[in-house]
Structure formats: structure tokens, C-alpha cells
Amino acid sequence: MYRYNEIDRRLVKERVTQFRDQTRRHLAGELSEDEFRPLRLQNGLYVERHAPMIRLAIPYGVLSSDQMRALAGVTRKFDRGSGHFSTRQNLQLNWVSLEQAPEILAELAEADLHAIQTSGSCIRNITTDPFAGVSPQEVSDPRPWAEILRQWSAFHPEFAYLPRKFKVAFSGGPDDAANVRIHDLGIQLARDGEDQLGFRVWVGGGLGRTPILAKVLREFLPWQHLLSYAEAILRTYNLHGRRDNKYKARIKILVQALGVEEFARQVEAEWSHLKDGPATLTEAEAARVSAHFEAPEYENLPKYDTGFEFAKRHDREFSSWVARNVHEHRVSGYAAVTLSLKAPGQAPGDATAEQMGIAADLAERFGFAEIRTGVTQNLILPDVKKKDLPELWRQVRVAGLATPNIGLLTDIVSCPGGDYCSLANAKSIPLAKAIQDRFSDPERVSAIGDLKLNISGCVNACGHHHVGHIGILGVDKQGEEYFQIILGGAWGMEAALGKVIGPSLVAEEVPQVIDRIVANFEICRRPHERFIDTLNRIGPESFRDAAYGSGSPSKRAKVVSNG
């Protein structure tokens, strides 16, 4: 992983000093709330329902064991001993105080961690596939490029006051576990006809009030031009993005208004001034950063480990965990393992300080002291020897991190919702728990197979409800919490936006309606068919009838439009 040098470390510390002084001036009444707001946001600090929330960056989802312990340490010292891993590779602490925020950042800086640009109208934390570098499918490791763009975007003087937030994701290849198509800028590693490494560039994706999937801006960009091309995109957006209405200020609206061809023409025109200039990446810089991500010293291990195969055959619980939580690795004899943060009754993505500490220890014992976080709000140990899997499983089970549900219905992605967030219309966490209770039979959930269920507490869509196979959106109707049911969304390269299927429901009705929708799938599915494939094959009608058909589930329900 990337190790900070003296300059990286100095810049993070200078940021802490700057923010400490800004906070001091705000508390002394020298900086008004309006003046202070954009400054605190660019340091990850929101003012929330009960207390300020701080969003800490986990750049492209990579943490060392020591960094994970530092995160656990601040949750113990400054919060209530737990944190929320978000869909964008951040950790959110919900109970911090404004006065202590500079102290939190100072402590994290000691572990080369920060909250730089995790909020505000700027280039946000850059995300990537949690299996980067170990995935057998990837074209090339996206992490060096994410790190290069992280450095470029950190404290970029020209792009700190954009029309709106700007989210970038890298994907290592065609499987796209980073969901590049729902990002303002999506960068997918690719090779051209001459086997030269570069990027397919996507632009203008985003969820929120106006969900739009990104479009291809450039089929192939040689790697040397990453920074100059990004500069051209950002400058075009900074100068021409709308600023009169914050709901129309994302780059997706500009791209849609101009059409992607015209937007591409403007970017190319701007880029013609920058191409081959000083921002052009050098072989030396690519090599310097890539060296940080060189493969660790893997042992030469056989593809099949007899102890592991034996345990799989003789222990059903172990084998069901392996089936869902253990993933293919590009190196023989190794696997990547997901630690589920979706145990029954657990708020999706939440981890206690103790669990963080255990994950840090396990990453040391069963890997190279590295942990990843991903868009599904789970933790990943990227380099586990297959022969260690039975022992790892026993340890993970004790820590409550072994729920064998990765990619299943109960692996719910959810925002913190109305329990914490001041934007939310509805409480997503209790609903996630109620759905997990409804689907408490692991045999059934396993038989249902791949099903992405996403919950957002409001149209800002932090729970990515538009791209869940089943999406649930909290809406407000005359001060009451209601939920819309959305079907047909999908992730990655097959990305699609789901559609609302009927009237919105009160929270108590949602689990049974989800159950009826799933039951309809169980009746209609072909052998081994995924939920989304059945839905796409037969259309939403029978699902709608199943959900609402036998008597309206709610007399109070009214049809409300999506958005």
C-alpha cells in the first residue's frame, strides 16, 4: 500500500493546523456559520441531527492494520465506540463534537489518515474496487492511478469551489466492482490494440434527485494523460456547470444539457492546451507510485489445499461461509475474504471499535496487515492463504463478522438514515433490521442467491437505492415516513436504474411486501437464475401484482412519483 513520505505527512499536518485555527475562530465568533460551513465540510464535518458527524477518508478503501487501530482509537476516544463504513470508502462517526474535531484529525494524522475533501463542493475521496490488485479479472491494478489522482486532487487550488460535489471512482477492469457508472467521473482501466495501458473515461453519472448513468467520454486515454485530461474536465465543469440551483449543479446535468458529444468536444478543446504539458505523467512517477503497490511476498502454494477442501466438504457452516464470503484471488493458494458487517440486527456498515481492532489483528495474522473497505459496506482481508481459512473462520465467527451473506438479500446496503442524518426523511436502519428479521432463515436467503437490496433514507440516495435490484427509498408525506419500492436497478457494467413499482408504504408493511416480491421470484425463476435476470426476463408486472395485488397493503398509501 502507499506509504506517506515526509511531504505527504507535512501537508496533512498543515491541514490540521489550518482547520484548528478556523475552528477556533468560528468558536470565538470571528467566522460566521456561513463562512465556516464550506471550510468544515471540506474537512468532513457535518452538523447532524444529534451531534456533528465527521466523515473520515479511506482513500480507495485501503487501510493498514495500524490505521484501522487508529480509527478504532478515535471512535473510542471521541465517539461512542463504533463507526459507520459508508458506500464510498469513508468511515463516519456520528457522535463527535465540533470542539474536538481538530483533535480527532490531529490524532488521525499520526496514522497518515485524514478527512480532507470528504464533503463539500470539491473532488471527494477517490474510490475503487476493494479487490484491486488481487482480482483475477482486472486489466491492471487501479490503486497506483487512484493514488496519483488522490495527490493531484488533494488541495487542488482551482477546484475547491466547484458547482457541486465531484466523485471519482476507478475500476480495475471489466467487472467494475467500483460502480463507475454512478460517479461524476468513472475511470476504467483498459488496454488498447497495442496492449498499451490506459483508461476508458466515463462522465456524468450520479444518483440523488436526478439519477443518471455515466456515459463514455473517451473510449481510450493513454495513462500518461490522466492528470491533464482530468484538469480539462474539471475546468470545463467549474466554468460552465450550473450554480443557480444546487439540484442542477452536478456535472451530470451539464453533460445532459450539452449532450455528451458536445461536452466531449469542449473537454477536448480545453485539453488541446494542456496535452503533453507538465501535468503529463512520467514513467518515473508511474513507477514510483506503482512500487508502493507491488505484490507482497506471496508463498508458493498449491491451488488446492487439502485441509481447506476437507473442511469445506465436512462442515456445512464453513462451506456456506466459503461460498459467499471467500473470493477468488489471482495468486494460487490464496483467497480474499469478506468480513460481513451485516449480521442480523446490526446496522449495515457499522462496526464497533472492538471489531475494528479484531479485523486489524486478523489482517496481520492472516495477511500482510492490510484491510479493504468496499461499496457494499463490508471489510475485506485481501490476502488469506487457503490453508488458513478454517482457522480464520473460527476467529471471525467469534467476532460476529462471519455472517455468510455477501451478495445476498441480507447484505443490505443502507445509509445511516433518519436516526442520525438531518437530511433523511425516514429511518433506514430499523427497516434494514426488520427486513433481516423477516429473512431470518439462512437456507432460504442462500437459495434466493444474488440479490442486492439498497435502502436510502431520502432522495440524496446515499444508500444507492436506484441501483439495487430492490431499492427502498424513504419519502416524507405530510410529516409521515413512507417508503417507495423500486425494482430493476443493477450495478457495475450492467448498471441500470430501477423504477418505482407502486404506492409507497409505511415501514411496518415493507418487510412483508419485500417477502411477496421475493416469493414471486421463487415461483417464476429458472434454475439458478438471479433475481435481476428473472425480473428482466418476465418484467415487473407479476412482481407488482405480488406486492400489491391481494388487497392494497395500505389504505393510506398514495401513488407518489419517483424523485
Binding site: S121, A154, L227, A279, R288
Partner: protein
């Protein structure tokens, strides 16, 4: 007289920034005596008059751009101007940072580039990096320290033509 941060110093600001009131037009607005910065619309309407005024009365001349203005519109006039101002209607309107970048790195402007409007000490470092060398801010004596909030930068910008990775190679 108001004070100004200019070239890392605090100086008296003798300039007047001309703005058009609701009933003013660029053709008829009265030009005050002394050094003035006029909006782009006045510059376009009365270029010859403004240049003659400077020549006859030695009243220094500047133009200020708003966030909607295209700096390319004054590209051929830059030699005539002692100051180019960029107005920030609010701190959150970041277009001025790109306009400054274009003036410095593409249009070759070398004269005084002044930030005016809704900016304060917390913006000075980034403003300086994109090429501003003069800042109309409150309490300039306190604000000036923020020019150096950061001692290094990753990216190239108007005040540093090479990104850090190219400078690393040079010193290695």
C-alpha cells in the same frame, strides 16, 4: 484608505472599483477621478476614452471580470491594463479560480491580478496558487499569514509551473 495585500505586503489601496448601479449604463456611467477598475461592459463600451484618460491624467486603469466573463475577451487588451480584478460574488463561486488560471497560464498576463468580493483569509492560499498577487480582504494584517497555510503542493498551478513529481525528478 482601505488596505490591501499585494505582493506579500500590506499597502494602501488607492483604487476605486466601478460598479454599475441599476440606472447606470456602460455608456453613461460617470468615471470617478483616480485609478479605477471598470467592469468588462464599460471597458468594451469606452475603451478609447479610458485609454485617453489614462494617457492625459495618468489615472491608472484596470478592468474587473465577473464569474460569467470570458478572460479571452480582454486577451488583446492586457498590455493596456495595470490591474485585472476578478470578482467573487460569494466565496463558494469558484469560477474566478479558473479565470485566474487562464489569465496567467494561457493568456500570459503578468500584471497585478486582484481578488475582490466575497473572499477572506481562508481562501488566500488557493487564490495565490492560481495566480492572484493582490487581495482585497478584511483585516489584511491577520489574513496575510494564510498565504502560507501549506508549504508544498502536489499540482502545478500558476505560481508553480511544475507538479511535484517533476520537481522530485529534478532534485533526485
Amino acid at each position: 484608505m482601505a488596505k490591501l495585500i499585494k505582493n506579500r505586503d500590506i499597502v494602501e489601496d488607492s483604487w476605486k472599483v466601478l460598479t454599475l448601479a441599476a440606472n447606470d449604463t456602460p455608456d453613461t456611467v460617470k468615471l470617478p477621478v483616480g485609478p479605477i477598475m471598470v467592469p468588462l461592459s464599460v471597458w468594451r463600451a469606452r475603451k478609447a476614452e479610458l485609454i485617453r484618460r489614462e494617457w492625459e491624467h495618468h489615472d491608472l486603469l484596470g478592468v474587473w471580470l465577473g464569474p460569467e466573463d470570458d478572460p479571452a475577451d480582454i486577451a488583446s487588451d492586457l498590455d493596456d491594463l495595470s490591474v485585472v480584478g476578478i470578482h467573487f460574488p460569494t466565496a463558494g463561486d469558484g469560477r474566478g479560480y479558473s479565470i485566474a488560471t487562464l489569465l496567467r497560464t494561457r493568456l500570459g498576463y503578468r500584471g497585478e491580478l486582484r481578488a475582490v468580493g466575497g473572499i477572506g483569509r481562508d481562501h488566500l492560499h488557493y487564490l495565490h496558487r492560481v495566480g492572484f498577487d493582490a487581495f482585497a480582504v478584511n483585516q489584511p494584517e491577520l489574513a496575510i499569514a494564510s498565504l502560507d497555510d501549506f508549504s508544498e503542493a502536489y499540482q502545478a498551478a500558476a505560481n508553480q509551473p511544475l507538479p511535484l513529481f517533476r520537481r522530485r525528478t529534478l532534485t533526485a
